[in-house]
């Protein structure tokens, strides 16, 4: 796992997203252990409080869970949950803004669908 942080967004959010990417890509399969806050803190040079904040985001979403005394594990069904969430995000981030822009430019719905088909084919 390689983390590259940008300035624009809070580090704990970026950490949470990177961990999600890891789970989606299969780097952390379901029921497998993810690195502890200590490991994350040392490996990615961040304050442990920040690392904990990022991990807690995933715990709150039910993506990962704590096993007392053992560490953090990926929940069963986490991949499905995440891909649902990402699909929802895809709709909000890309589809909605695309439609907005299309309306501004006066592109009709059927033209838009045609364009998408053309994009998929190429």
């Amino acid at each position: 796992m390689e983390l590259r942080f940008e300035e624009e967004r809070p580090i704990f959010l970026q950490l949470a997203e990177q961990l999600e990417d890891g789970i989606l890509s299969g780097a952390f399969p379901e029921e497998s252990q993810i690195p502890s806050t200590t490991e994350i803190s040392v490996r990615f040079k961040m304050n442990p409080a920040t690392a904990l904040k990022g991990i807690n985001l995933l715990v709150d979403d039910g993506i990962i869970y704590k096993k007392r005394g053992l560490g953090m594990f990926v929940s069963e069904g986490a991949v499905e949950k995440l891909s649902d969430k990402r699909k929802e995000q895809f709709f909000e981030r890309f589809v909605c803004s695309m439609i907005e822009e299309a309306r501004r430019l006066g592109i009709s719905e059927s033209d838009m669908i045609g364009m998408i088909r053309r994009g998929c084919a190429s």
Binding site: T38, S41, V42, K45, M46, N47, A49, T50
Partner: protein, 289 residues
């Protein structure tokens, strides 16, 4: 000892004011960034805390009780000033054991393991070390001190990227083991911004910011775009500063972000520690020695 408080500390040297009415609290188990340009008063502040200098006025409190700086209080703290406070002709190994003699909680083994981790030769004298190696020696002493409040003054001075990297990991590793308070005083900000939890910005002897990093970063935002649009947007808002580049401008604003209806012509961004620092301390030409 749970916290150290500075109350109304002022210090002048001859006629010039180095610190002016500084109120600060260092709580146990947190990583602080003490930021300021050269000559902002960072070192003076640390030296006052460690009893190397005495304030012209003001008090030092330990757990809310005013104290006279004594061995007991100093035993909880560790600060390395100039490396040549040590007898420079003595070998590092000997200096570790001398330190251990005065501070029983000093971890000599850990100090020696860090010495080899950073590729220093413990049989060499302090005099023979380069600037970067002296910095490492200071850092090693502080990290091995076993003190609950550690003050690192310019801990990366003269270190290359590789060693800085090892240093940050070492600090965090030690901190994760048993959280202690670390105050990192530096004017090189970008690298420590992910490590620190709480930020103190000193400018010309005054505290201009003292708050958790998160809330500091959330206290403002940047807005950029064509000059006219930016100017129109920022009127009536609290502006920290503006960077101009031809007809393009980027303004740094304090307060909650208001994007409504401006997304087309303006771009909104988050503040970085570096940007805030430059805006807070760049007003008048500080002393760049």
């Amino acid at each position: 000892m749970k916290k150290i408080t500075l109350s109304g500390i002022s210090k002048s040297f001859g006629g010039s004011r180095a610190l002016e009415n500084v109120d600060l609290t260092f709580e146990s188990g947190k990583i602080y960034g003490l930021l300021g340009r050269n000559g902002a008063g960072k070192t003076t502040l640390l030296k006052i805390l460690y009893g190397i200098l005495y304030p012209s006025s003001g008090r030092v409190l330990s757990d809310d009780k005013e104290i006279r700086i004594n061995d007991n209080f100093l035993g909880n703290l560790f600060y390395v000033g100039e490396p040549d406070y040590f007898p420079v002709e003595t070998s590092l190994r000997k200096l570790f054991s001398e330190t251990k003699y005065f501070r029983p909680e000093f971890d000599t083994e850990y100090a020696l393991s860090l010495t080899s981790l950073f590729g220093l030769d413990s049989s060499k004298s302090l005099r023979s070390l380069s600037t970067g190696q002296r910095t490492l020696f200071k850092d090693i002493l502080a990290l091995s001190s076993g003190a609950s409040f550690i003050f690192l003054d310019e801990p990366i001075l003269g270190l290359d990227a590789n060693r800085r990297d090892i240093l940050y990991r070492t600090i965090l590793g030690k901190y994760n083991e048993s959280p202690f308070t670390i105050v990192i005083s530096t004017h090189l900000i970008e690298e420590i911004s992910s490590i620190v939890e709480h930020v103190i910005i000193l400018h010309e002897g005054r505290v201009v910011r003292d708050e958790p990093l998160d809330s500091l970063l959330a206290s403002g935002y940047s807005v950029s775009g064509k000059k006219d649009a930016v100017r129109k947007y920022i009127s009536g808002k609290s502006v920290m500063g503006i960077d101009a580049l031809g007809g393009f401008e980027c303004a740094y604003i304090l307060g909650a972000r208001q994007e409504n209806g401006h997304q087309d012509e303006l771009e909104f961004g988050r503040l970085s520690l570096q940007k805030i620092f430059v805006q807070m301390t760049g007003s008048k030409g500080g002393d760049d020695k």
